[in-house]
Point group: C2
Chain length 305, copies 2
């Protein structure tokens, strides 16, 4: 198999087809360490649901060495994980109401839930704090936003994206107009820029602000990924923008027991907050050149069909 | 006083003028921690040479609080540092001889010495390894350089730059032609690009390679600082190029006891090696558009005068 996450996701089903009774998945990480890097996996229809466990790279290397020396070595898996029934949980929302057009919204957020190992600090505590801080910074600056700035801490990104789906469904039901949706869900490292899932014109508009952020060493301003939680808003033609922090250390921590508070660098994280706040401010101040009337029509059309 | 390093450098003389008998210098660092950040300082002529010590930010904050509560608090300094006589030491040089014009040289390096606290890993073990690795990578690739690639591990950057001065003096004496000199002396963090102390044409030439390195997220290609060790080559009209790693964490470690091996991130450091090797390769392959004959004349002129 090519790529990497597909080995974690599909490792069990693909191994079961070859007759495996269980599967160890070597961690998908740059760092050679003792920490197992976990994450979601799934089963294909009609294939035996064999157990699948994450193995740290050091442990995988050791197992590999042992197997070379003793090909008949035996092991056992004692797996006691289970999927519990869903429970009610909630997105958490705070607003700075628009001074001119409060019915038009700029949404920005991260997700409140995390994978079960570690503390979920980079994924996505950092994004949650980027978002709360952006709201605070803009308020503290005394700037009165034209549109409503809405900070959304999404629930259930890791396990089905129900927070993101529900948010978009409610927005559609209410006929809310979103100017843009921003997400920070790639860690609390040095901010490098933003990617946008939008029209070429919208991307160009964002790129026109590069000179304002270049002095702070932000340099990525291009078409690309928005975020999982804001993803369901795409159907409503909302431009989706993702904060892009430096990514070299992300998979040292992602879904492992090293994703803890002390592995976030205060200064780097503060620069992320300032960058996120700046992008929200720029969109509020200068817009993304969206034809709102046309967009309202499209949303009404979607709501009626 | 404005700026920051001048407080460390001139703190003693400036305080002595106000009648101080000793001075504590609060560390110049982003990070609020218990580690004193040290570095060179000097005395003005005719001013009392009072003792000067570095204090960590946490200790400086504590002292400040104590002084607010008890303005008459007394302290004492027990300083036993001394300046010993100079000893012989050496630059360490390795070459990959040029296949076409071996008498023309591309020099690149870092410095071998370090400040006395910590291990000197970011300052400048990282640059030393960047340089050795660049030499190794280019050789391992099978590429035959046009010019001689010379890796120089400079001695005595921290205390007088005698390695850099001697290197330039010997080059001048021998009439060596340097195509370029590169230095890595800003840590082993994620590489962000290069700055060049050269002519506008040379800077433009370097900038023309940005698209080749942009996929690896290098984005700084502009006029700027080369490096202390290569600095004395400037008189010989050699374009000086400095590797620019991400700088947010540099002063967490610089000249403090946290500048140790385990604070260099392997992957980030490897990316620095690859970037340094790439820039050396590009200069060897495409040149910097220097009029060598004119340059040779200037050097001969300098040598005769």
């Amino acid at each position: 198999m090519e790529g990497c996450v597909n080995q974690r996701w599909g490792g069990a089903s693909n191994s079961a087809k070859e007759g495996a009774v269980g599967v160890y998945v070597r961690s998908v990480s740059h760092n050679v360490d003792k920490h197992a890097h976990t994450g979601s996996m799934g089963y294909e229809e009609g294939v035996d649901k064999i157990p699948s466990v994450a193995l740290s790279i050091e442990d995988a290397n050791m197992l590999s060495e042992l197997l070379k020396k003793s090909p008949k070595i035996k092991g056992y898996l004692n797996v006691n994980s289970q999927t519990l029934p869903d429970k009610d949980s909630y997105n958490v929302i705070a607003e700075n109401r628009g001074a001119v057009e409060p019915d038009k919204i700029i949404t920005f957020g991260g997700h409140l839930d995390s994978w079960d190992v570690g503390e979920g600090t980079h994924d996505d505590g950092a994004g949650v704090v980027h978002s709360i801080e952006a709201l605070r910074i803009i308020k503290a600056s005394g700037y009165k936003p034209r549109y409503t700035l809405r900070c959304v801490l999404f629930m259930n990104e890791e396990n089905g994206n129900n927070g993101g789906k529900t948010y978009a469904a409610v927005a559609k039901e209410k006929g809310e107009i979103h100017i843009a949706a921003l997400e920070s869900d790639a860690g609390g490292f040095v901010p490098r820029g933003f990617t946008m899932d939008g029209t070429p014109e919208q991307v160009k508009k964002m790129q026109s602000w590069e000179p304002l952020l270049e002095p702070y060493k932000l340099h990525i301003f291009k078409k690309g990924w928005g975020g999982v939680d804001i993803g369901p808003l795409k159907e409503q033609m909302v431009p989706l923008i993702g904060l892009r922090p430096d990514d070299q250390r992300y998979f040292d921590h992602h879904h492992s027991d090293t994703d803890v508070f002390e592995n976030v660098h205060k200064r780097e994280h503060e620069l992320g907050c300032a960058s996120f706040a700046s992008m929200i401010y720029l969109i509020d101040k200068y817009g993304l050149g969206i034809k709102l009337e046309e967009k309202r029509w499209v949303i009404l059309y979607f709501n009626q069909n």
